[in-house]
Symmetry: C2
Subunit: 499 residues, 2 copies
Amino acid sequence: MNINKLVEDFDKLEHEYQQLNRAQTIIGWDRRAMMPSAAVKSRSKTLGYFSGKSHYILTSPETMKILDKLTEAGDKLDKAAAARVRLFKRTADRMVKIPGEMFQKHTSLRIQSETAWERAKHANDWEGYRPYLEELVNITKETVEIWGYEGSPYNALVSFSEEGMTSEKLEELFGGIKEGVVPLVKKIAEKDNFDDSFAKASFPVDIQKKMNQELIGIIGFDLDRGRLAESEHPFCTSFGCNDVRLTTHYYEDKFLQAFFASMHEAGHGMYEQNIPEEYEFTMLGRGLTGGMHESSSRFWENMVGRSLPFWNANLEFVRGYFPQQLKDIDVMDMYRAVNKVEQSLIRMTADELTYNLHIMLRVELEKDLFEGRAKVADLSEMWNEKIFEYMGIRPENDTVGILQDVQWPAGMFGYFPSYTLGNLYNAQYSAFMKRELDFDKLVENREYDKILDWMRKNLYSYASLRTPSETMTALTGEEVNAKYLVEYLTEKFTKLYGV
Amino acid sequence: MNINKLVEDFDKLEHEYQQLNRAQTIIGWDRRAMMPSAAVKSRSKTLGYFSGKSHYILTSPETMKILDKLTEAGDKLDKAAAARVRLFKRTADRMVKIPGEMFQKHTSLRIQSETAWERAKHANDWEGYRPYLEELVNITKETVEIWGYEGSPYNALVSFSEEGMTSEKLEELFGGIKEGVVPLVKKIAEKDNFDDSFAKASFPVDIQKKMNQELIGIIGFDLDRGRLAESEHPFCTSFGCNDVRLTTHYYEDKFLQAFFASMHEAGHGMYEQNIPEEYEFTMLGRGLTGGMHESSSRFWENMVGRSLPFWNANLEFVRGYFPQQLKDIDVMDMYRAVNKVEQSLIRMTADELTYNLHIMLRVELEKDLFEGRAKVADLSEMWNEKIFEYMGIRPENDTVGILQDVQWPAGMFGYFPSYTLGNLYNAQYSAFMKRELDFDKLVENREYDKILDWMRKNLYSYASLRTPSETMTALTGEEVNAKYLVEYLTEKFTKLYGV
């Protein structure tokens, strides 16, 4: 077995796969940020064509042979090469089990479902959308059976999004959060709440755009190697470290929404901009799992952007753009407004404290679905009951209930845990960061480059070289657990609300 | 020989080629309209990868076999299938003669040359850029020899851009233009010229943007099936009839530049938007040659946009956006400003009358280069002498001389004739249009849909089904000739300048 020849073949294979991915990423960005909706059908054909090509490369017998031989060769490969082979094989192994026809059906179902959902959300038409979700859940269940799993079938989905994660481990983590957070939310609900009406005045979108461009530059997103554009739902996508695209969505009467969406997406973007360039066009050339990526985005959004030192430093920056609207507002007004705890219906705009309860609800429903305790037909009612249980309010319609999120319609089952995992990860590693850095002072002095340096050194520069579990152990000496997040939230919100 | 099976194989081949093209078109649009310059290197790798794939599909022995057999089958194919095979074969025949290595060298040379040119243009550094152009000319000469030609080697380049066109035919056409236009330019130069200083006041770019969006909608570009964005050099690109992208470039102190660039690109865009949808992803699914495309863009820009009826109808529309800047301006002021004849250095902003002389200069130099009468080293001096001969002025530097245009640096030799061919084509077919339509009245009543209908019926809907020569014969009963353009220009400018 000539190992050099094998590695060469693998390099070529990986490069082909990466270039096909790159094309789909650029074409997909354009679809969401630029494309007129009349072109949906034509664009799906193009995306379908290239996803078929990716499928072929991942599953051809030639590919399997190379991967098997390289996996056997094991320790003869250097660390980076071994990681690349492992990641490629992980993707290929899942793909090869799925018949080509089923894969294509799944792909086109996802696109149809997302389009149907958009319409249904605007029209509050759960019954009209339901058949799509039923089909998607069914094909996902089939997929899970083909992939195989240990323990719960939900494990197949969770571990696909977050390597090494299990349903059981999630239960333990959410259990810890629930125990720490639910009583705190109840106590806060008994207090008089803050007045954030000033933030709902008119903030012209043109000015918001200029402010958000400057904002992401201040925290360290490199505007010479990226762009901030607009789309219906904010997102981040990367075409290598020298070209990272963010979007946000502006509302004239809710300027804080775009503000934190921009910080959130910049948090994803800074991860991608700080991946070593030599990893581009390899399996290593992107941030780790969804959970680890969310740890970065939610770190910059929440731990930096919703902190008191941040507003000590940046109220005047924001007031520079909106002097009239904010003329009577002081730092504490702003700090309270961006941290107002509310028993609310909508995940996307939920505060830091209740956010994880929104996720918990979704994860519980996903488990019920895939562990066979619930049917799609019952989902709207189950949703409404659960949200009443956790928040004490009931959605007046499905648009602000089960139809609010794109993840399920897009077929991303098992992805929701990533958001809470992100919060758990960053609470845990930032506790260690704060032993090395005078975090509050850096935030207050706007020395965000120092914080970015820490993130680069400890997280970003590893790209996909380590697993989430290896990352957490290396950074904090232990596996992810709920203790740090509960401590962080308890300290912050106890003080803020005086409870 | 099973013809059905062959057609099926061809369909598949063509679809692959079209999808690879589509990817390159979207990725190329993004490169020019959205990409940060730091990503040039990474993006060329991706574009290089996909152009290699296209090359492979066009030149594989399998492809050649299918094409040869289908060409033999000839009249057993329906008209559309025969045209698709013919166009595919035309592209493949040229490509298959070029060794893969040479093709890749040419591709990467073009990208390097364009980047070097951008720098050199800003720095006025002809000597620094020259070696790139020399290499490009050399490899193009080699290509021409490999392709083969009858008569002048320049024919190989001209007929690549404009099917059926020859160096000899161009000489005849330009001869006719020269004879008709040069004396007229001289006479006008003796008259006092118009004052267009009002158009060089401050026209804020934000307002220009809104106006140009409305403008292209008024003339018939469907904004639900396309976009107008910004880039350094205006261009149009199409991802099928339901998604056509235009760009323009704004200057605060020259609002007419973006105005006419937008109309010009919308003229390209309306062509593409009106190609029948069933041709998408086939060789027929785009407008004809460069010359025929320019005939549409320059029709909307000049024959519509620079006409007196247009300004009778639209001065108030423009004044609505810029009431202060245009408060003392009447229709004749505007009509004169947009048609001011100047002996100028820059092609892109030249008036309708002298524009063709700028093209003539370039075509003469291209012929000198490829027929062996000139060397790249002499080109700057030759340029300056020629422009002095035609315009009576001399460039103070190469930035406004030989370095002004992107076409040569991008390796597009033989493309310049397209612009003048466009003017010849549209002058000729619009003479016939005007027998069917009360053109001036429609323009003045803003009934641009009626004009668009004529263009759709007679030109756009044929897509690439006919050759330029077949198109002109069908529309006007004769081959392209200089008579109509000279008549149109003479009538317009004699009257305007009273000469």
